[in-house]
């Protein structure tokens, strides 16, 4: 089953504060290994997370993201 939601992170806006990662109830986020152009280590969306069934489009990551770098999408029924 596909996840109920997904997010898109604007990699160049992201400043690697990891607050999204803190609040995600589904553990969908992880730090990138490289740096973006501004020298920050951005966060990546893990499309599928086995154990927790992936993103549920709760928008919490977006709500706390200081950079307004996250868009949240819900799967259409």
């Amino acid at each position: 089953m596909a996840a109920r939601g997904k997010i898109i992170i604007d990699r160049e806006r992201c400043k690697g504060c990891r607050l999204c990662l803190e609040v995600c109830p589904r553990d969908c986020l992880e730090p990138d290994t490289g740096l973006n152009k501004k020298g920050y280590q951005p966060v990546l969306f893990r499309e599928s997370v086995e154990d927790k069934k992936g993103c549920n489009a709760c928008t919490m990551c977006g709500l706390v993201c200081p950079e307004a770098a996250i868009e949240v999408y819900r799967a259409e029924e």
């Binding site: 400043k15 501004k38 020298g39």
Partner: protein
Amino acid sequence: MTTTRTIFAGFGGQGVLLMGYVLAHGAMFKGLNLTYLPAYGAEMRGGTANCTVTLADEDIDSPVASEPDILVAMNYPSLEKFEGTVRSGGLIILNDSLIKESPARTGVEVFRVPVVELARETGSERAANMVMVGAFIAKTGLLTVEEACRGMEKALAGKEQFFAANRAGIERGAAFVTAA
């Protein structure tokens, strides 16, 4: 030598200002005239940082380096920003660990130092900036390793816990140049 102007530039977290500060204190030990001038952005937020160090055995007039003799670039945006200002015949020293690109600038000498890797060898990745200081003084001959180390100790007075690692970094950087 007469007067040498160097710009150190990089990300905020790379200890760029400290590099210049260490160099300035080392020059003081040596009895050189010097000016150390950190760039003072309106913002204290992340982003980039840079400072200008002028060393001279004569009076220093302008402390500003609009045409520096040397650029030490710790990241790519800094290289991009400053490479054009280096006087022709000048020197660009690059943080090879982070900058894979080549300078657009021609007519200058380019020297690469893999600071992170070298620092890792000494056991402390955080000493990467000191590795660059070591490489810088060895490459330019402006200070001896000992002068640089004493400058570092003066600049960091009260933070003795970092002395050993930083000294190792400076030595490693200098050795890298000698070996090159």
